[in-house]
């Protein structure tokens, strides 16, 4: 016997959570885009998507974030720190890959200096994940040692029932338990069978890939030029990635005042490594693509012992020229030894 949540009780659930001071964000479609928006009703949610187009990363590490407000005075500059508000949030209907993305990024934001913006939001948020029972051609979680029902990064795991009436509910963390305690009467005990997870074929041999990347000779391989030839150097892969985390600090303002902000940046951009002198150590797109792959599957792994990829496949799904991590890693894993 496990606890289940029926679709029909979802609205009650939302009401209870709101009553407990949470705001609920779930995949929904607004202005031709699927992303995590605040929802009031179950009917606002788009839970049948394989994946929303935007990740939940956006809500922890926003594309632009104000850090400091400054005012320029005659002889000094007044500053005022801007910290994110304390907001209790539930992310409902997160896919395992997106939830994993948060867990993958946690060590990065905390290894030397604890990024207050990230962890304050992490601490205030409960991740309610729904295991995947369907996948599309681009899904690749199984290739990066994750799975359609991976619990990594989740506080509560929902597994769809075979009969389609609802989900099996499993709290994974204290935060998850606390959340479920707000809805004791809404959950019920049942022995309904869970639906099997989606079948996601393994597309490359990650061990082979990481071994090749770790080989210093690979750095100068002609492979990079070949594989990245059509890359146009946009940042749609990095900005839609649940784990990419590079940023830039910018001051924006007028003569009298302004705001220092943290903005997403991307290794795909030529400007990313441009020096003031005009010299650019990564002056071709192939060196930039190499950096992206190396970072995710070699350097990050070396530092935090985890690949900086959760296999969501957005990089390929959204790529204007049909590139992406899958093709590159597939090609690496097919390289002759």
């Amino acid at each position: 016997m496990t606890r289940i949540l029926l679709h029909t009780r979802l609205d009650d659930c939302l009401a209870a959570w709101r009553a407990s001071g949470y705001s609920v964000l779930a995949p929904s479609k607004s202005h031709e885009l699927t992303r995590f928006n605040e929802v009031q009703h179950a009917s606002d949610m788009a839970l049948d998507l394989v994946l929303p187009e935007r990740t939940i990363k956006d809500h922890f590490f926003p594309q632009t974030e104000p850090l400091i407000r400054y005012r320029i005075k005659k002889h000094e500059i007044d500053t005022e720190e801007m910290v994110p508000p304390e907001l209790k949030r539930i992310f409902f209907g997160v896919r395992p890959c997106d939830a994993s993305g948060l867990a993958i990024d946690d060590p990065l934001f905390g290894w030397d200096y604890k990024d207050e913006y990230w962890f304050r939001r992490r601490g205030n948020s409960v991740i309610v994940t729904i295991a995947c029972t369907s996948a599309d051609d681009f899904c690749m979680c199984t290739s990066v040692q994750l799975s359609p029902d991976s619990t990594k990064g989740s506080d509560v795991m929902l597994t769809p029932l075979k009969d389609g009436r609802g989900w099996q509910v499993l709290a994974l963390t204290d935060r998850g338990n606390a959340l479920l305690e707000t809805i004791p009467s809404i959950l019920q005990e049942s022995d309904a069978e869970p639906a099997p997870p989606a079948s996601v074929p393994v597309k490359f041999d990650i061990d082979k890939v990481t071994a090749w990347l770790a080989d210093p000779a690979s750095f100068e391989s002609h492979f990079w030029k070949e594989i990245s030839q059509r890359c146009i150097g946009c940042a749609s892969c990095t900005f839609l990635c649940p784990t990419c985390h590079c940023f830039d600090i910018q001051d924006e303002g007028d003569t009298y005042s302004g705001i220092r902000r943290k903005n997403w940046d991307s290794c795909s951009f030529a400007m990313f490594t441009m020096h003031t002198s005009g010299h650019n150590p990564r002056n071709t797109q192939s060196t930039r693509w190499r950096q992206r792959i190396m970072h995710k599957f070699n350097y990050y792994r070396g530092k935090f012992d985890v690949n900086s990829c959760s296999g969501c496949g957005r990089c390929t799904r959204q790529c204007p020229v049909d590139m992406g991590i899958t093709e590159t890693l597939q090609s690496i894993s097919n390289l002759p030894r």
């Binding site: 187009e53 632009t64 903005n263 049909d322």
Partner: protein, 276 residues
């Protein structure tokens, strides 16, 4: 012989005769209906080329990277009429030498790719001329009309919502053959005309500036619109600019390789009804 076979043969012939050093075309993509740009350097690779109704991307942007044409050798490229117009603009703006571009022209109609006769951009002049006389896309116009019917306030709100989705990934810019600048205006920080941050104001400014820079240069290939990962209807704003260039200045982007930029020229009798 189907068009794919025919063009594979032509590509092979161009490469083996040494007429071109490279063929830029389409290959199989990661799904059955996706096509991806491929770069073919020898005749025995031409079997990788695919040509069908899914080949919609405008490949002309791949002609621009620094150094590609500097050896004086020619490159062949698969282009639809929109792409041919792009080549004309790139030639007019001195970014490519049109003599080095061999066009493998085709068009898509009724779900079929069909060959277009001609090899040089000039060969397609009558085709482009007839496109001009046909006018801009009526589908786009109908979509744009929906917006024009709104009040300014509603229209502002509409774009506000659209642009607030923008994440400044610059896929629109990077995929666009016209965005060949060595340094984009958004990357100019002395002074910072365009707010780099991806808040709605910054997004608004970016999208307006890009549309303005494309005025009279956009060939409506739809690349930016398709590339946008957050589905901003960029086609509409670019269409509005094309319409203005055509209506006010009789300027149809990419008419010929010696067409002058619409905003670098003028006529003394240009319309000016709005000026007080």
């Amino acid at each position: 012989m189907g068009i794919q076979e025919q063009y594979r043969n032509e590509a092979a012939e161009l490469l083996s005769s040494g007429a071109v050093k490279l063929v830029i075309g389409y290959g199989e993509g990661s799904t059955s209906d996706r096509r991806r740009p491929v770069f073919i350097r020898s005749a025995d690779e031409t079997a990788r080329l695919v040509l069908d109704a899914n080949c919609i991307a405008n490949l002309s942007g791949y002609l621009v990277p620094e150094g590609l044409l500097s050896d004086g050798k020619s490159v062949a490229v698969f282009l639809k009429p929109d792409g041919i117009r792009s080549v004309n603009i790139l030639a007019a703006e001195a970014q490519v030498n049109p003599d080095q571009v061999v066009i493998l022209g085709f068009d898509i109609d009724g779900g079929q790719a069909s060959p277009l006769p001609g090899r040089k951009a000039t060969d397609f002049a009558p085709l482009i001329e007839s496109q001009k006389s046909t006018g801009l896309s009526t589908e786009l116009q109908q979509e744009a009309d929906q917006l024009e019917l709104m009040s300014a306030t509603d229209r502002f709100e509409y774009w506000n919502q659209q642009f607030s989705k923008c994440i400044k990934c610059y896929a629109c810019r990077q995929v666009c053959p016209m965005c060949y600048c060595r340094r984009c205006i958004v990357d100019v920080n002395q002074p910072q005309w365009v707010n780099t941050s991806s808040h709605t104001l910054g997004n608004f400014e970016w999208n307006i500036v890009r549309a303005f820079h494309l005025a009279g240069r956009c060939v409506a290939c739809g690349g930016c619109d398709r590339a946008c990962p957050v589905n901003i209807p960029l086609r509409l704003i670019n269409h509005r600019m094309s319409k203005e260039a055509l209506d006010a200045f009789d300027h149809f982007a990419g008419e010929s390789a010696d067409q002058k930029p619409v905003l670098a020229t003028f006529r003394q009798d240009d319309p000016e009804t709005f000026i007080l």
